[in-house]
Symmetry: none
């Protein structure tokens, strides 16, 4: 039997606070999604002013971070015509997102969830996701 660890709703709340605090610092109201290790949604917030088109992008970024176990920005660099991974952006029913801003949440080398941010540029979204992960590690003491 396999045992898996996954984020609780309380731990998703810690990630959410970390992301929202950073978004406020940046002055960009964000859509923020947190999934479990299977990429299934646990928590979502659209901050007042977050973009409508970013709702599903944030959820897809969190799914991709958890399910593919890599930052979505990594796939952005791989998903270039002529490169072997090109085409991955249209898989999974269009839910595989290759725009930066999605990250796996790891604890002791294991993926326990994903976080996805959208409403800024890809660079801003990724910075916000990283700030959320840092906040999560400081608050929980978990090691990546």
């Amino acid at each position: 039997m396999l045992t898996s660890k996954r984020l609780s709703i309380e731990e998703a709340e810690i990630l959410m606070r970390g992301a929202a605090d950073e978004a406020r610092r940046m002055g960009i109201p964000m859509c923020i999604a947190v999934t479990d290790d299977s990429g299934q949604l646990i928590r979502f917030d659209r901050m007042d002013g977050g973009k409508i088109s970013s709702i599903s992008i944030a959820i897809d970024k969190a799914f991709t971070g958890a399910a593919a176990r890599k930052g979505t920005h990594v796939y952005n660099q791989l998903c270039v015509p002529g490169e072997p991974t090109f085409g991955i952006h249209v898989t999974n029913g269009g839910h595989f997102c290759v725009i930066g801003g999605g990250l796996p949440v790891t604890v002791d080398g294991q993926v326990v969830g994903g976080i996805g941010i959208s409403s800024g540029t890809a660079i801003e979204d990724q910075a916000c996701a990283e700030a959320a992960l840092n906040h999560f590690r400081e608050q929980t003491g978990y090691r990546p």
Copy 2:
């Protein structure tokens, strides 16, 4: 120019707390979604133990409550083979949900959002959504 009112993220949080408190009283971990007046997601929580299949059901119930401006249980009673509204459950790309547990959130007779609950029976989900609305009205003083 038309002017519309919609729930803020803080008001979505009040609905969320009302729903989660009732879910705990019921002993059923729920998926809870809150949308704006156009049915677009503002907030989502999957309580620890909430069903995977209920993630999209809760979101679709909240969409339907807001966008169709009626409780999803009302459409459940109308969407019976031979009745004129049968078939509405497959419209809107499959996102029109006719299972009880979705309600519009109204303030002074205007729809400002929607709430959708899923993981229990349709009856339990609806009771939980109603408890959330009651809590929202007590806390905010808004009248339906």
Copy 3:
């Protein structure tokens, strides 16, 4: 070679005015769609206050009226479990609508377009579609 007649944008406008006038008489802000003989959209209006969930329903009703060449209410009566036509409501990628309010627009026995109405009950939507057709025939002199 086949020759087909189809509504022009000006004729769609006549149907639209007929529908909107009737909707105002009813006191129900409607979503109104007009398609050509292939079921492809020519014209759409969401009156101020029309339901968000009715946008795609109105378009699907107009498609069905034109493409299947029958009123959607006719299919509503046929699409009952155990009857031979049951299941048609999930065909065409979910765009085959069996809720009353969609009608073919015929001229001299030929389908030249479709009209679909949504935001009221199925009965109200159908009455509004019929009023639009009557207005169209009065204004244009075309015979069904």
Copy 4:
């Protein structure tokens, strides 16, 4: 409670007239869509001769202009393989359009709707959308 402004059907009509007049000047029958601030369709016209494949493209352009709050031509320049935003064209269920011809409609710095044009080249579609916006501002006196 948040308050938002959105285009009325009469204001959508002004945009529509501006776009259709420009399309006639260009000699290109266009598909023209106008949405509210959430990207939900208010008004659609397919001019006689407009392309069938442009129906959904015009609607998706108007959605993107409103929901992402940028011109679709801006995303066209960003959505290049190897650039961080590549992949955004397949998000939102394939409804995020990165072809020029979609613009947000802003009033006093706030997005109140979107307009999308399709049937010409991307350059022609964009020019037609811009002409529609100029006409809208002249007629209404609203400032961007």
